[in-house]
């Protein structure tokens, strides 16, 4: 019998322990990034989500200037948390278009009246079809789209005050 073979079960067991321990110690990152970064915004045409604002098509996003595409909903709580940051970006001159996921016109109107309206347009995505085609897996999410309508950056979750510089930098990079 070779000497080393006696130690292999112990070595395997220690290896297994290390694997299990690392799974327990390092928190699992469950964010799913869109694979559409670097690709043009897929073709879509959404009806206006509320009266008094235009709807949104993919052509509206390729205007020669980088802009933000915000995926939100009036029923989404973190969307309230990011509203002040979107207003701040709007005041800084950033163009923001929005897609409202599974939402009702009156609810959106109330949401915008209460938390501010930074949007040029809001398209109604009532069956999440456009959200799925963008590779977005929740609300809120924000995409940076360059002047040619190509997705350059994705921000998952609400935009917090500390995230604003990164968003502005991504817009700058998309110039």
């Amino acid at each position: 019998m070779k000497h080393w073979i006696i130690w292999t079960p112990l070595a395997l067991f220690i290896g297994f322990l290390a694997l299990a321990a690392s799974g327990l110690i390092v928190p699992r990152d469950t964010t799913i990034e869109s694979q559409m970064i670097g690709q043009p915004v897929p073709e879509f045409a959404l009806a206006p989500a509320l009266p008094g604002k235009p709807g949104l098509t993919n052509a509206d996003l390729a205007t020669g200037q980088p802009r933000l595409l915000n995926v939100f909903a009036s029923w989404c709580v973190p969307c309230i948390a990011e509203a002040p940051q979107l207003m701040q970006l709007r005041r800084a001159g950033v163009q923001i278009d929005a897609i409202a996921i599974r939402d009702r016109p009156a609810d959106i109107a109330q949401f915008l009246a209460r938390h501010g309206d930074p949007y040029r347009s809001v398209g109604a995505d009532n069956d999440s079809r456009v959200q799925l085609s963008l590779g977005s897996s929740g609300v809120p999410e924000t995409f940076v789209v360059d002047g040619d309508g190509v997705i350059r950056h994705q921000h998952i979750g609400d935009i917090r005050p500390e995230d604003v510089p990164a968003i502005l930098a991504a817009l700058e990079d998309a110039q």
């Binding site: 694979q35 599974r102 897996s137 809120p140």
Partner: protein, 175 residues
């Protein structure tokens, strides 16, 4: 990232069943009555504030094919097989066939709509993989990254067979 940043349209179901610890029969009975008290308390609270507990859900009715079978049984079977092997993006341990989340319902509707339009299940899977990455499918393909998943079990089986064979040989020599 400790706090979840993204809100998901997932139903809130977490009544505190785990509060009841099992500690022998007397303790168990006590724990059960405590649990009953907590459940009724939660029910009272949720009756008092029906909108707050469900605020992270869309109020829109479900998409047309979310929970309705396709009229053609063969197509429905194809759709079902595909839905069981696609991962829900919101409730990440479940397939979209199992999940109650709004987004999973919209994904089921998308799968059925496309199957009814004559699209191949594998094309729909690839469409989703292009957007969300390989993560979205429960059936990993065989390629440069995933080959160990498929080959390591075969390798282990071969090693086991080899070990067993050498043991049997020795025995038959001794006997």
């Amino acid at each position: 990232m400790n706090a979840p940043k993204t809100a998901h349209p997932e139903p809130v179901e977490g009544l505190p069943f785990s509060l009841a610890r099992q500690k022998g029969s007397a303790g168990l009975r006590q724990a059960q009555s405590k649990r009953r008290f907590f459940v009724s308390l939660c029910l009272c609270v949720s009756l008092l504030f029906p909108s707050t507990s469900l605020s992270a859900q869309s109020r829109l009715p479900e998409a047309e094919w979310a929970n309705r079978q396709l009229p053609d049984p063969q197509q429905e079977a194809e759709a079902k097989t595909l839905m069981e092997s696609l991962r829900c993006l919101v409730c990440q341990g479940q397939s979209i066939a199992d999940s109650d989340a709004d987004m999973a319902a919209d994904m089921r509707a998308m799968v059925r709509r496309r199957i009814a339009a004559g699209e191949e299940p594998e094309d729909i899977r690839n469409w989703l993989v292009e957007r969300y990455g390989r993560w979205v499918t429960y059936e990993p393909p065989f390629d440069a990254i995933t080959w160990p998943l498929w080959l390591i079990p075969l390798l282990l089986l071969a090693i086991g067979g080899w070990l067993a064979r050498s043991r049997f040989k020795r025995k038959s020599k001794e006997g």
